[in-house]
Amino acid sequence: MGMTMTQKILAKKSNLAKVEAGQFINCKTDMVLGNDVTAPVAIKEMEKMNIQNVFDKKKIALVPDHFTPNKDIKAAENCKCMRQFAVKMGIENYFEVGEMGIEHALLPEKGLVTAGDVVIGADSHTCTYGALGAFSTGVGSTDIAAAMATGYCWFKVPAALRFVLNGKLQPYVSGKDVILHIIGMIGVDGALYKSMEFTGDGIASLSIDDRFTIANMAIEAGAKNGIFPVDDVTLLYIKEHSIKEYEVFEADEDAEYEKTYEIDLSEIPLTVAFPHLPENTRPVSESTGIDIDQVVIGSCTNGRLSDLRIAAEILKDRKVKKGVRTIIFPATQKIYLEAMKLGYFEIFVNAGCVVSTPTCGPCLGGHMGILAEGERAVATTNRNFVGRMGHVKSEVYLAGPAVAAASAILGRIAGPDEL
């Protein structure tokens, strides 16, 4: 029996000819990521163990993105802890406010992750880089403490589910709708401990941003990672962004998949996930009569330029409904600058939106857009758990940028066809 794409990367980086599902391995890491919430826990553990050096100053990235610009004194202390550690250890990829962005948009943009890499991050959405044909997965703070010291991480080799994507998406339907549709189909633990391996002719028509969004939310189905094959779209992105050496892995013909799902992209509707789980999905056409108080467009899931472009197209020469607070978060400084040059900010401000500096803030109920009791938001973020964006009795409806923008204008959940 052959190996899946994920298994082939793990075998190579563990220096093994072959691995199989269920096997425990110690694997070399090409990039280790931490943020202002998770890295301080790791740093304190390293200090307790008196670890004085990191394994490789180039292969660690520290990004203060969650509660930054510092939301309060405690958050400022956490950022200071990470900053001082970065200086002390000589870590090259520390990104201060002003150059930082939301980590999972920032690392690919900076060329720090590439095809064939093994990437771990103390952030669950680290699975995003599977879009580039890397094995990447979220782990905990202790894992990154150990990996920053040794360069290794332990894994249980995952079994895999295969998603064969065919056809082409309908207008305004995006990667977000694809992944919400899949999570609705298999459930929030439908891929627990497993790889989600995407394949099929339909992938060629998916932009790299769509693929980032799809891989980003693999964790919302419980997956260890989501991964796309490397094609011309991937290579173009990699060559534009990275000077790192990359390696293209392909699944064996006889790789084993626990299950194969055939998905026709043209049949996926604009999709909304209702509170309080990402699996509670409905087509937007069946999501009527839900008035909203806030719209958030951004995050590691949907804060890329193509997301802002869709929002700008819909908001152009329109106004958001009075009373709907519409907050737009470009994911990185580069995206921010490009969106500004393209005139999107003028469109957003004229429509009555606010544009924020990059931050994870509202997605996890940190700052910059917290909900009060009974309030509802449509968000292009990734989780709609109880209390995720604020009060325990607030509600988050997950959607892509087209539905979010249309909903902001109409003041209720709606698709752009209603405008």
């Binding site: 390293m46 956490n78 758990f385």
Partner: protein
Amino acid sequence: MKIHGKAFKYGDHVDTDVIIPARYLNTTNAKDLAQHCMEDIDSEFVNRVKEGDIMVAGINFGCGSSREHAPIAIKASGISCVVAKSFARIFFRNSINTGLAIMECEEAVDGINPGDEVNIDVSSGTITNVTTGKVFNARPFPEFLRKIISAGGLLNTLADK
């Protein structure tokens, strides 16, 4: 390790946002985190939990964010072991890595009610509901993980090297 305590019971898909809401993640202090453990689904938990008590839950316990603050908060609240039908993968590895005892056992979850007195032998995986007299056996961990657990966490295994 032998554990004895009362059971707190929760449902499926208990996520890390309710185990420890992100609004409290501006600290890494275990005791501060423990004061807010479970508050969004059980505001009385922190007032009622006693040292040694156990937590019982359904499938996919600890889903969502990678925050290690979740097992840290549970452990610091006094909970000695979490028994669930299944665990989300990052929570699972965080618990192994930080030394929070966890067990997967569907039958035990179905056979324990809130407030039941429970004995757990962590090394053998035997779970006894003292209130009802029923005995359950959790799936044993593979050798690779037992080594991390018996070292008292991942970083201690590095110290051994």
